[in-house]
Subunit: 187 residues, 2 copies
DNA sequence: CGCCGAGTTGAACTGAATCAAGAAACGTGG
DNA sequence: CCACGTTTCTTGATTCAGTTCAACTCGGCG
């Protein structure tokens, strides 16, 4: 839980009573690689904090498996659409490595937000950080070549490149596996 | 201000005292078409609610003018990156039509959030809606053809197609003006 | 009028996808 | 611990969507 509170406190101050309340609703779990955390087309009830390991969010489009998001340690994983809207979404989540996770139930989180002003603030900050990341990733996709996107990934999160199979990385970056393989070959 | 409170109350309940406080910090403004609301590479201090008219967020990349976001009436406009991070960003904002706007200063908004739990909740909801929209737009860009993207726009917000010049629409959709022109011709 | 920016249309070019066939890596069971 | 089959990755040839470059049209507007 150390990493979790470190990250949290980097976002917003954490009054002791909220820290207590938060600890009480966290559900620690340890799962092997390949564990399905969220089945596709189901409602996402949990927000996962990755303490150790790596998860990916994915969906199927025209028979293809598309990786939508990657969460290494220190980050939050969920199906954004489903978690916020409360409806089922095509996205699913699975672990790419053995993981230590902290799961927080949607209702528990909402409860904390209702009870603690500080919790509400914290969640707002998490959402704001999500917006920033999303905008960054969006910009990349908007007007950058395949090679540029790969180079950016290498620079920003080089660890991912080592830990994610090529095919998944390719769809994450919005290109075909063959293209990614060639880009790698020529760098 | 009617539309504003309508939208707001659709997101979260609004206690009377917050309604008062919010009214007090709103800065109504009426500006002609072509007004610069945010200069590029400056800090975005205001969140704008569009009561009437249309704004666009844009930036320059390699000498090109790229439209990043379009806000018709009923929506919030700001440079997400700058407004959240507090740093200057390459994005600027201008009006594409004469506009009636409600401007809210960052500091005023933060003040309300500190004072009113309900304000914090409201802003969280706004951020969450932003995340949903962004995700939607991201998906579009991720794996859809140029024609698909245009069709989606036609379906979701047909009004924009009439109101935004072709060149700006094209970069908004991530394609060249020529391509958009051809897509239009063949539909 | 004649200029000018916005939009259209055509032709050549190109980055990346697709199709196809091997090579390497991996896990599973004998 | 090796052999086998499966999956993942690489490499090559071809195709295609979309860009780029360029010429032309149209509708304002000084």
């Amino acid at each position: 839980m150390k990493l979790f509170f470190q990250v949290i406190e980097g976002l917003a101050p954490l009054p002791p009573e909220l820290r207590e309340a938060l600890s009480a609703v966290l559900e620690p779990m340890e799962v092997p690689r390949g564990t399905v955390l969220l089945r596709v087309h189901t409602v996402c009830h949990y927000l996962y904090f990755v303490e150790e390991g790596l998860t990916r969010t994915f969906y199927f489009k025209g028979g293809r498996d598309i990786t939508d998001w990657l969460c290494p340690e220190g980050r939050f994983a969920c199906s954004i659409v489903s978690f916020i809207s409360g409806h089922a979404d095509r996205r699913g989540i699975e672990t790419l490595e053995p993981c230590r996770l902290l799961a927080i139930h949607r209702d528990a989180l909402e409860g904390l937000c209702r009870k603690y002003h500080a919790a509400e603030h914290l969640v707002r900050r998490i959402a704001a950080m999500g917006l920033l990341e999303m905008q960054q990733r969006f910009d990349d996709l908007h007007f950058a070549t395949a090679a540029d996107r790969y180079r950016r990934l290498l620079q920003d999160t080089p660890a991912l490149v080592q830990r994610v199979p090529l095919g998944m990385l390719a769809s994450y970056l919005g290109m075909s596996p063959e293209t990614l393989s060639r880009i790698r070959a020529r760098i």
